[in-house]
């Protein structure tokens, strides 16, 4: 599949655009209402600048870290994406194959194909199952028992989706398809739901995805949650929240070392990833980028995309003057004014017209 070979992420995005129809493109690129949250994610990343050190031997750079004890080749996770099969024929299997081949961890969404058992059987590496609640407590228990039985290494509960964000790029028919009646159960999620899941999974780490305040971080830590996943759902849920990376310092402080912190939202470059790690994130999820990669070249495209990210992370670390992730410190970053108008493709200034609609 030589189509999958692209030299830059620019090429990858253009290739994905050619392969995907308008509905799928709008679904992946778009966000809620005015798309302010989406733009703020990029804006916040663009408001940080590096302070590089020189003359430090950087011949050997180590980008490795771990996700609950499992080795990650780079501090990048494949964020859960509903309907991932729209971008790549084998859906969750393609993502899983890419994670296995590259050395990443993938999150399997409740609402994607194929089944959680099929994906679990596909490869040996540990993966995380992401839960959307689509039924009562018994429904949740049944689902979680299947997840445990299938040996998922961690469980992720999404907590930012009580309502479905108005994604105005979608045409009314597409939007209606996604507003299924069972979604109503999402509104009933409380800390009781968290306990219910914890009782079922025992020692398996639980991650709450969609936390955006220090207050909820503190509550989650009190409840024994092991993973705090900062996310505004790529700007696809509540409009007008802050850029995700702005939340990192207060969340990291509230966690106080008692849980791991993950983040996603607009991360598309090695420099973005390094900034999040400098501010205390353990690893960064990629969502849109993952979908573009799958759209451009399936599992092979996704592996290639991760290779490009790895190259960028290496370049960034080398030019900052650090050789391993634990050397990163807040002295390497400072506030700056953004120099481009932020949008979902603004990290890619050479796209024709600046943005692919």
């Amino acid at each position: 599949m030589s189509d999958a070979i692209f030299e830059t992420t620019h090429d990858m995005i253009m290739m994905a655009r050619r392969n995907l129809d308008q509905d799928n493109w709008d679904y992946i690129c778009g966000a809620a209402e005015s798309e302010t949250s989406l733009r703020r994610n990029r804006m916040a990343l663009d408001c940080l600048a590096f302070r590089p050190r020189i003359c430090r031997d950087v011949s050997e750079i180590d980008t490795e870290t771990d996700f609950f004890g499992h080795k990650l080749r780079i501090p990048v996770l494949l964020a859960p994406m509903g309907g991932i099969e729209r971008f790549s024929a084998n859906g969750g299997i393609d993502v899983d194959n890419a994670a296995e081949e590259f050395g990443s961890v993938n999150f399997l969404s409740t609402v994607c194909q194929p089944s959680l058992e099929e994906v679990a059987d596909n490869s040996p590496h540990p993966k995380s199952f992401q839960i959307y609640v689509r039924g009562d407590d018994d429904w949740i228990k049944d689902l979680v028992r299947r997840v445990v039985k299938a040996n998922y290494a961690s469980v992720t509960l999404t907590v930012d989706s009580a309502f479905y964000g108005n994604r105005e790029r979608l045409n009314p028919a597409q939007l209606a398809l996604r507003r299924v009646a069972a979604r109503e159960w999402q509104k009933k999620i409380t800390w009781e739901t968290v306990k219910l899941i914890q009782d079922e999974i025992g020692d398996i780490p639980l991650i709450l995805k969609g936390i955006m305040t220090a207050e909820d971080t503190a509550l989650a830590v009190e409840h024994g949650v092991q993973g705090i996943y900062i996310s505004n759902h790529g700007g696809r849920q509540l409009d007008h929240v802050l850029g995700n990376i702005q939340m990192l310092p207060e969340v990291v402080e509230a966690v106080d070392g008692k849980a791991q912190v993950f983040i996603d939202g607009g991360f598309t470059r090695g420099t973005d990833i390094v900034k999040a790690l400098i501010l205390g994130a353990k690893a960064v999820g990629i969502g849109r980028l993952q979908a573009y990669a799958l759209g451009a070249g399936g599992a092979e495209g996704l592996v290639r995309c991760l290779e490009l990210l790895e190259r960028e992370i290496n370049t960034t670390m080398g030019l900052i003057g650090v050789t391993s992730l634990d050397e990163l410190s807040s002295a390497s970053v400072t506030e700056a004014m953004p120099v481009t108008l932020p949008h979902e493709h603004s990290a890619f200034p050479h796209l024709p017209g600046g943005k692919v609609g």
């Binding site: 830059t8 590089p52 020189i54 950087v58 030019l319 120099v339």
Partner: protein, 356 residues
């Protein structure tokens, strides 16, 4: 003079350059944020003029590393300039000699350092990328010494070659990238390497690619004559800060123990004045130099320098200063940038605002 403004020089350069060569000259790394920040940093400084001061005689001459310089500008080292015009490095050296400013010969350009040194009487600097061990250094630095280069600039912001996506999208690789022999020595660079070079070389040294005061301090302690503030024109680490933004802290750290040079997005006389007011001894031009060479070779570069000189004269006169030593931070204020920053944003009359 063929060109009255640098607008015309850029337009002519664009017509003359082959596509990938233009991508190489005009582009930065990855998202080109660092490159844009350089301009944004300059655009975020406003000038505060004084009035009713006699400015009938304006003197913008200075000294650079002890050598007289017609203006506080030098020609920054640029690799692969031969892509722009054959024997480009020769044209750069000739322009520096004719205009009486300093130039830095890139170790990665043609013709050779010996050919350049022939018939060249003016002071000049050799810029090196470290691409070998002790023997390699001794051999190269011996040649540089033998050919009477006055100072040595060591580039330290290129531990890893960055992704310059304009040229990657065009499927083109510059000669500096194709020949990767000894690249591992750039990654392995340390202060020990610097000291080893210093011991072999024995003359004045320029530390090029500094953006933090901590490193400026170490550089001074290790005998650097010049701390050269640069982010490689935004072509190496993306998301670095604007060089003009980091200049004050570095000038403070250096505290007169070395000269401070700067480059990165300098296109106008007012840009140069801002850097001097913040304590820079001289300002390097890179992209502008390349555009000028591309527009008209040696005469294009002389023409461009003449325009820049005129802008410095006008800027100083309207600011109410008649010599460079009168410039200080009291002439500057924080201002909001009024246009989106990019590599050509100092030239608002370019068709479409930007030539790609």
């Amino acid at each position: 003079m063929e060109f009255k403004t640098n607008h015309e020089i850029i337009r002519r350069a664009r017509r003359n350059a082959r596509g990938p060569v233009w991508d190489y000259l005009a582009g930065g790394s990855e998202s080109e944020t660092a490159m844009r920040r350089n301009r944004f940093g300059l655009d975020s400084i406003a000038l505060k003029p004084r009035v009713l001061r006699d400015v009938s005689e304006i003197d913008y001459a200075t000294t650079v590393m002890g050598h007289k310089s017609r203006m506080p500008v030098f020609l920054a080292p640029m690799a692969s300039l031969q892509l722009v015009t054959p024997a480009a490095a020769q044209a750069v050296d000739d322009a520096a000699e004719e205009f009486r400013i300093l130039n830095m010969l890139s170790g990665r350009s043609r013709p050779s350092l010996e050919e350049i040194a022939m018939n060249s009487l003016h002071p000049k600097v050799y810029q090196m990328y470290v691409r070998g061990g002790r023997d390699w250094l001794e051999e190269l630095l011996g040649r540089v010494k033998q050919n009477n280069y006055d100072a040595l600039a060591v580039t330290v912001d290129a531990a890893v070659y960055s992704n310059r996506e304009r040229q990657m999208l065009a499927g083109w690789t510059p000669p500096t990238r194709t020949n990767s022999a000894g690249r591992e020595f750039l990654a392995g660079l340390s202060w020990d390497t610097w000291d080893e070079i210093r011991q072999i070389w024995g003359g004045p040294m320029i530390l090029k690619g500094v953006s933090r005061p901590e490193d400026a301090e170490i550089g001074v302690q290790h005998g650097a004559s010049v701390i050269y503030v640069s982010n490689h024109g935004g072509r190496q680490l993306d998301h670095d800060r604007a060089t003009i933004q980091v200049l004050p802290d570095i000038v403070a750290a250096v505290d007169g123990r070395a000269e401070v040079f700067i480059d990165g997005g300098f296109m106008r006389g007012t840009d140069v004045i801002k850097a001097v007011a913040l304590g820079a001894q001289a300002v390097g031009i890179g992209k502008l130099q390349a555009f000028a060479l591309c527009a008209g070779g040696l005469s294009g570069l002389i023409n461009c320098l003449t325009i820049l000189e005129d802008e410095i004269r006008i800027g100083m006169g309207l600011l109410g200063v008649s010599s460079l030593d009168q410039l200080n931070p009291s002439y500057l204020a924080k201002g909001r940038a009024v246009n989106p920053a990019h590599e050509m944003s100092a030239f608002p009359h370019i068709p479409g605002g930007r030539l790609t």
